[in-house]
Amino acid sequence: MKLRKVTAASAAVFALALTATACGGDDSDNSGSSSGGGDKIKIGIKYDQPGLGLKEPGGTFAGFDVDVATYVAKELGYEPNQIEWVETKSADRENALERGDVKFIAATYSITDERKEKVDFAGPYLLAHQDLLVKKDADITKATDLNDKKLCSVVGSTSAQNVKKDFAPDAQLTERGGYSECLSALQSGAVDALTTDDSILAGYAAQDQYKGKFKLAGLKLSNENYGIGVKKGDTETVNKINDALEKMVSDKSWDKAVEANFGPAEYKNEPAPQIGNIVK
């Protein structure tokens, strides 16, 4: 009896395996086809950047990118409850737009010539600069001070390579999965500086755990014009988003969003950029 039971059970496992395989396929098909759904809008943001795009406990989203995207979506005719947020990591952004997985992306997306070959940009809506985050008492005042120092950045980011190439060829560079992992290394002294856009750094430095321990070096190593990425050739959406961004600045919503998100971080942001005015 026992053997028969076990055999039956194993047969069931095999059968289950086969049906479940089929189910797996169906399941993913469904989620794929729903991406073109009528009254929802999919927007790509970052999930792990305090002050810009952060998935908060409880599943809500907060940050400057999120506020800008919400405002723009509203101008496009979508209420906040019609927005479906999608995490678009840096390396995935072009692909997500090309494939039409998201309508637009507001995820610390700098406008560059290279990216403009693949996607179209609306904006810019914020001018940030590459900078260094260092310990409060560190004496790093210019980028060349970084020679012989230890630098942290995230995998696939260009900012660290820029520093190594242009300013401090002798700097030691380690790349981590996320900025929070760099911060923990910075705090314990395993690295001397963390480099990326000042807007991102400010958000991290303002977290309760790190408050008062770090400072921005204020170097303005580069200009990062944050734009809203749109599928290549979708000029209509670009124009609509540009109108929305202009309105956001003129009705002071932009200032409010800046104050709400960067205020606590004491981030001295640049004034609202003119649409289409890309600072090289």
């Binding site: 009896m1 026992k2 053997l3 028969r4 076990v6 055999t7 194993s10 047969a11 496992v13 095999f14 289950l16 395996a17 086969l18 479940a20 395989t21 797996g24 993913s28 989620s31 794929g32 991406s35 999930y47 792990d48 950047q49 305090p50 952060l54 998935k55 908060e56 406990p57 409880g58 599943g59 999608v86 995490e87 678009t88 990591k89 390396a91 995935d92 692909n95 997500a96 494939r99 997985d101 999965g177 996320g178 900025y179 929070s180 992992e181 911060l183 923990s184 705090q187 314990s188 991290y204 977290q207 309760d208 755990q209 790190y210």
Partner: protein, 301 residues
């Protein structure tokens, strides 16, 4: 103390063992004390870093969805790899050279390649040649990598499971005039499935562990990856790491225990042929040229 290596300790040995115990204990305690001191020194023991794990939000927003993705990828991979592995394993035992050799080549090839390489390749392949959405792509890539590798490992499990059966089974089947396919489908496979169940279950541990690769290298939002989003919120890199490691240990411990419970039960079962492919024997199967099943341990890396 039932080891064959030493007698029951006499008074002298007892004293020596006690000294060893004390020395070892002191060393261990010193190490733990040092770890504790450094953690405290670096502020890693502050309650504010650990407190998030006592709130339900940290779990429902980050860890549980991450765990769900880990389990989803592992389950999908197992469920697809199992029939595929069975087919490959049986094909490898075929009497026809043109079936046997290609199956062997496929199995040996995918076992020789790191699963990370398979995942990276699958990820790029899906991005360029298919229209899988970029949100689903990491899952597809992880499952593809895991299936390719584990199907070839399971193929060897199936082969060894069938070989582990007493020879009389197939001889008796032949004697009553069953054809080869009938022997396989109604005599050998049903018994072999029983034989190899523990090995299959413990292969799940390998699959669960390998999903973490996709989290770090492909951005698949499994447990280790959602830990990153969590740490971005609470700024608790190390505590979140420790919690995730514990979750993995508990999860895999449950699977391992289930596998050995199953093994013990099957070994005791009177109706079976007595042949059981233990969880620990899978490692042996990873060798290319195993004829039968030697009893060796080691588990699966």
């Amino acid at each position: 103390m039932t080891s064959v290596l030493y007698d029951a300790p006499g008074p002298k040995a007892k004293r020596r063992n006690l000294i060893f115990s004390v020395v070892f204990f002191v060393l261990l305690a010193l190490l733990l004390w040092w770890v504790w001191q450094v953690m405290d020194d670096k502020g890693q023991l502050e309650w504010s870093l650990w407190k998030p794990f006592t709130t339900s939000e940290a779990w429902t927003t980050y860890l549980l969805p991450g765990l769900a993705d880990t389990l989803k990828a592992a389950a999908l991979a197992m469920v697809i790899a199992l029939p595929l592995g069975a087919i490959l394993g049986i094909a490898r035992m075929s009497d026809h050279r043109w079936v046997r050799i290609p199956a062997a080549v496929v199995v040996e090839f995918f076992r020789a390649i790191p699963v990370l390489l398979l995942m990276l390749f699958a990820n790029e392949f899906f991005a360029r040649s298919t229209d899988v959405s970029s949100a689903d792509r990491p899952l597809y890539a992880v499952v593809t990598g895991l299936v390719l590798y584990n199907a070839s490992v399971l193929a060897e499990v199936v082969r060894a499971g069938i070989l582990a059966l007493p020879k009389g089974q197939s001889e008796a089947a032949q004697a009553i005039g069953l054809r080869k396919s009938q022997t396989m489908s109604s005599i050998l496979l049903p018994q072999a499935v029983t034989v190899m169940l523990p090995a299959i279950v413990s292969q799940l541990v390998v699959i669960v562990k390998d999903t973490a690769l996709g989290g770090v290298m492909l951005g698949f939002t499994e447990l280790l990856n959602s830990r990153g989003t969590l740490a971005a919120n609470y700024a608790n890199v190390i505590p979140s790491f420790i919690v995730v490691a514990i979750i993995f240990i508990v999860l895999n411990f449950i699977v391992t225990s289930f596998a050995s419970w199953l093994e013990g039960r099957l070994r005791r079962s009177k109706r079976s042929t007595g042949a059981v492919l233990g969880a620990e024997e899978v490692d042996d199967l990873n060798a290319a040229e195993v004829g039968g099943t030697r009893k060796t341990g080691g588990g699966v890396l």
